[in-house]
Amino acid sequence: MVGITKRFPGVLANDHVDLELHQGEVLALLGENGAGKSTLMNVLSGLYRADEGAIYVRGERVVIRSPRDAYELGIGMVHQNFMLVETMTVAENVVLGLRGLSFRLDLGHVKRRLRELGAQYGLKVDPDAYVWQLSVGEQQRVEILKLLYRDVDVLILDEPTAVLTPQEVDDLVEVLRRVITEGKAAVFITHKLREVMKFADRVTVLRDGKNVATRLTRETSPDELARLMVGREVLFRVEKTACEPGDAVLEVESLRALDDKGLPALRAVSLTVHAGEIVGIAGVAGNGQRELAEVITGLREATGGEVYVSGERITNCPPLRAIEVGVGHVPEDRIEMGLVGDMSVAENLALKAYRNSDFSRGPVLYPEGMRRFAEDLINGFAIITPGPETQVKFLSGGNLQKTILARELTACGGLLVAVHPTRGLDVGATETVRKQLVEERDRGTAVLLISEDLDELLEIADRIAVIFEGEIVGTTVADDASLGEIGLMMAGERTESEGMAT
């Protein structure tokens, strides 16, 4: 790929990016969120068309107009959100979209081929299973099989490890190793340094849509890569004193709840968070984390069990009740839930506090109070905005999160529920957010931190509880916690270290 440029309204996603991929190698495409990694690969796989630049495959200039063109050139991609039809079987999903099928589908042949491929690459999946029956890791295998069935030479994987346990990640590495020995090549997109060092032969670093460097993995170090990715030196650790837990603030007792499909998402979850303590919830995405946060904050109905905050029972109370007893909530969906894009920064900062008497005389709002409040928070939390009246949608991702955090930290009185608070943020903003969570803990707030990022949990949590299929399978003190132990628990293995969630 030479000189690839792709613009979106208001964004230069790729700025004259060059990229090369050799036979028999695994290339990591490293960069922070928004650096243009996925865009670049979407150009290669035919989903987007570049505004400028050219693509050469085996020396031939090619034009890729659609994913089908890409397949014909031997290029295929596994997207971050899998493109599978849940109500169809594995075999049906694999042939979906193939041309040249006979009128009467002969799935027998397809299944035989899938079993062969599965044995060859260590991708065991039952071709007759329905996709909805499969775990996320298995679904990913189906996506990879889909590409291998189409005889693809270049496999692109977009953040393949985000949904996997550490053990499943090892399996995936094994599969990729086998694939590339046959003269194929793989690109995987990531923003995790550890994976690059483990997975890749070479790494290309993107920053702000530009290709800033390409290195052989064996000739580089995580420190250098981090520097290249962020553009400055990075501190990996947040300073933190020992935790001095006080009284229990959040008490959850055998909580049960259903997910959006009406299936059990929480099966008797019990846990306690004390004042001045950060409890991390680790787990692979989709094991009940979202539901746990929503039930505590009153956004989802509990089908059993109890939630107490500072001794008050708030089980199945409306969200307003949770706010009144002092629950702050940094939601998973920042844009969809946490903010009102078309309203101003000041209004967004006042989304909870507008009920206070500082902001209103009876039913009438008092804009001056709201503005002063906003200015204080903008200064206090170093939110970068042209002014309090700017529509919040024009702020960058990091500043959006700072806006939410500023509001929730001021509104919260005892408990903060933070869900993926640093997901998608650049390294600088991540540091700030983590520091603020620790400071909030030091002020005596109980923090429930739900995160997929194990490094983050090990860094700032005091205790880590692991959730698997809606159950807390184990709790460990974060300082002693070995990655391996947590990894095993994330895959559903229970540990002996009892004293569960005291």
Binding site: D51, P331, E336, V340, K352, V364, L365
Partner: protein, 370 residues
């Protein structure tokens, strides 16, 4: 070459003003084509229209008569739409308001002090509209029943009920069999300002001012705006959406009911055919064109009334078939509504064939394929 349709990054004031103006030019040109087809001189026709709508104080008064119900129902629809409640039922709420006011004027006024007849009629009519709107609102808020269907269906019930009343039980015994109630006693007449233009205009202006203040300056309005912009966020910050939906719909239905009251007490002074002529539906166009802004609703309501009154005039002035007037009204509205899209979006012409940047060799990338 390819033409792309993309969202504007920000909407400048120039765009906000220019887009409707350009749309109007397009609309007039499109209408002119239609007029040429029916053998009329577009210039003459447009002049007749303008004269018919705004040309004399008498014409202006008639335009206001038409504009008042459009303004009130437009405000009603705008309030509901702000909450993402698709109230298609302003027509029925208007009908119920008119019906209730008629009941007061005909059957209760005797027993009331004369000064209080009109206020009571206004109050009862407004309440009737509000209650009629509260039914679909409660169904939606607490049971999740789709309000588009219920509000629309309830229109038919209301319209036919009104028709039944003036054809049947409430028909004027001294009316030679014509469908319609007896004339209201004078105590129930809404005072007129000029010609047939009545006091309802004041109600519309006051309602717009109050709505604007509530939306911009009160807690209730703040909550309404949050729900309208992002219902998920509203739930998350603890707003009781069902309750708010009921409040908004009571206001919405009340305003539409008030429009009905004004029609029977200010214009017809009896209940007869002609109360439900589609104002509640046209109100949807008014509210959208006004982008749900209360002040803009007044302006758009007035201009649209001008278009309707003027359109009727050219039938008479130029001897064109009635259908031409209607077609012309549609033809003029269409580009105006379509044009609104361009305030948010713009067209951009993009090159699609990537320019040659040179072969890998030229670019010194031979090793690329090693």
């Amino acid at each position: 070459m390819r033409i792309a349709f993309e969202k504007r990054e920000s909407v400048s004031h120039t765009v906000r003003v220019l887009v409707p103006l350009v749309s109007l030019v397009f609309a007039l040109a499109f209408g002119a084509l239609l007029l040429l087809f029916s053998g009329a001189n577009p210039g003459v026709a447009y002049a007749a229209m303008a004269r018919g709508a705004f040309g004399s104080s008498r014409a202006l008064a008639e335009t206001f008569v038409k504009a008042i119900p459009l303004m009130l129902t437009g405000l009603a629809v705008a309030v509901a739409f702000r909450m993402l409640f698709w109230n298609i039922g302003a027509e029925g709420q208007l009908a119920m308001g008119g019906l209730a006011a008629t009941g007061v004027a005909l059957f209760v006024s005797e027993g009331l002090p004369s000064w209080s007849v009109l206020p009571v009629a206004i109050l009862v009519g407004t309440l009737a509209g509000a209650v009629w709107a509260a039914i679909p609102a409660a169904l939606r808020a607490y049971l999740g029943v789709n309000e588009v269907i219920t509000t629309l269906m309830m229109n038919y019930v209301a319209i036919l009920l009104v028709s039944h009343m003036y054809h049947g039980p409430w028909r004027d015994p001294a009316g030679y069999g014509f469908p319609g109630t007896a004339r209201f006693p004078e105590t129930a007449w809404l005072p007129r300002l000029y010609g047939r233009a009545h006091f309802g205009l004041l109600f519309a202006v006051v309602a717009a001012a109050v709505l604007w203040f509530v939306l911009q300056r009160t807690k209730l309005g703040f909550e309404l705006r949050i729900v309208g912009e992002n219902p998920e966020a509203a739930r998350y910050i603890g707003i009781d959406i069902p309750r708010l939906m009921l409040v908004a719909m009571l206001v919405s239905g009340g305003l539409a009911g008030l429009a009905g009251v004004c029609e029977v007490t200010g214009v017809m002074r009896r209940l007869q055919q002609g109360l439900t002529v589609g104002h509640g539906y046209t109100a949807i166009i008014v509210a959208w064109l006004a982008q749900l802004n209360p002040w803009a609703v007044l302006l758009v309501g007035f201009l649209l009334a001008g278009l309707l009154v003027g359109g009727d005039q050219i039938q008479m002035a130029m001897g064109l078939p009635a259908a031409v007037g209607l077609v012309l009204q549609g033809a003029l509205l269409f580009p105006m509504l379509g044009g609104a899209l361009f305030t948010e979006y713009r067209l951009r012409i993009v090159r699609t064939t990537p320019e040659d940047v040179g072969t890998p060799e030229e670019l010194g990338l031979d090793e690329a394929r090693s």
